[in-house]
């Protein structure tokens, strides 16, 4: 089998099925997708072994590296969120120190580690730059939104500013190699431009269909029976609480 055809069948097709299956499982989740989606994910994950000659597998090698850095980072932040003074889903006392440890470990990996299994080193460097710069931007945007639009919660915005400063600090420690700085910014801008254009066209199509919707039929006013029934339900709830209707 030709490398291009092998890559199409053993990497790109499973990748497409995995994405489509993921969305399907979030929605209705048919039985076929419950089998096909994990199988497709597995095929994508082992692509460097099944189609080693294809250059496309570089993306999967990068994905492995992302998983090694990303899983402890997300788990650590998750533990930090659900430890301490949290109304629901509180984790035990070990949650906070473990979370801090995992986040510090991830930060150390991001700054100092370059996976040897990723053939093209610039891919990893560009990933780290995008991750840190995007985290800094997102944290800064959330900080500004929170400070301007959320009253009586301003003292809670410190993690967002700490996130923006921390990501910037890690980026300064890691450094931006060679000329990839301008390339990465151009890539993100181009991607946003193309994606935004497609999004705009899709919104235009939906708007074309939605603008001709007929006005909903006016409902008749409530009858005496309706009002009496509503009054009875309200009286029962006021007296006995919500469980009386359950």
């Amino acid at each position: 089998m030709e490398p291009a055809l092998a890559a199409a069948l053993l990497l790109w097709l499973p990748a497409l099925l995995a994405v489509f299956g993921g969305f399907n499982l979030v929605g209705r989740g048919g039985t076929m997708w419950r089998v096909l989606t994990p199988f497709s994910v597995l095929l994508v994950a082992v692509a460097p072994l099944t189609v080693p000659d294809s250059t496309s597998t570089q993306a999967v090698e990068l994905l492995w590296g992302v998983a090694i850095v990303g899983l402890p980072l997300l788990s650590g932040l998750g533990l930090l969120v659900f430890s301490g003074d949290v109304p629901v889903g509180r984790v035990p006392a070990w949650g906070r120190p473990t979370g801090v440890l995992l986040v510090v470990l991830s930060a150390w990996l991001i700054v100092s580690w370059t996976p040897t299994f990723v053939d093209d080193v610039t891919l990893w460097s560009r990933f780290v730059v995008v991750l840190l710069a995007a985290t800094a931007s997102i944290s800064a945007v959330l900080f500004v939104l929170h400070r301007f639009y959320v009253p009586r919660r301003r003292s809670r915005s410190w993690p967002m500013s700490a996130g923006a400063i921390g990501a910037s600090g890690l980026l300064a420690l890691r450094g931006v190699d060679g000329s990839i700085g301008a390339l990465v910014v151009a890539e993100v801008a181009g991607l946003f431009l193309g994606a935004g254009f497609a999004l705009l066209l899709c919104m235009l199509v939906i708007w074309l269909f939605e603008r001709n919707l007929p006005e909903p039929d006016a409902l008749p006013p409530p009858s005496e029976d309706d009002l009496e029934r509503a009054a009875a339900i309200i009286a029962r709830r006021v007296t006995h609480g919500g469980d009386a209707d359950a």
Binding site: A4, A134, S137, I138, V144, A167, A189, L191
Partner: protein, 151 residues
Amino acid sequence: MPEARTPMAFAALASAFLFGPALVLLLASESSPNADVLGVGLANDVFVGFVVTSLGMILLLLAYGDNRDRPAAPVLGLSVLLMVGFVLGLWLLQSGNLIGDASSPLARFFTELVHLAPVGLGLALAFPVGLLIAAVGLRTFALDEAEMPRS
């Protein structure tokens, strides 16, 4: 939010949004590459971004047409996206060497898709990380007692 603060809020939001890219450009150890190389790369990125998002949008329009009883919506969406994608591709081919050294446009597309993997994966990881960082502060329902409620 008082109206007088709206322009300031938008300026602050725009600055925050551009904070990351500006920092990357500031920390870059070398000057930017050749403008032609940058232009061809940008054209490819725009095209790949358009095609990949269009695929997602077609799926969205299929779900929309199904749920809202608009069977023509995905057909019209596909037609519009195909037409615009074709014109966009032609325009990009005219304006620069879109295919480069690749054997075919399809090969170039997949090469570009791999080339954009770091950007896609970086953004895909940065969003949940940013939201979880914000959630560290917002996990409690406690209010600032020092600040009076507005209403």
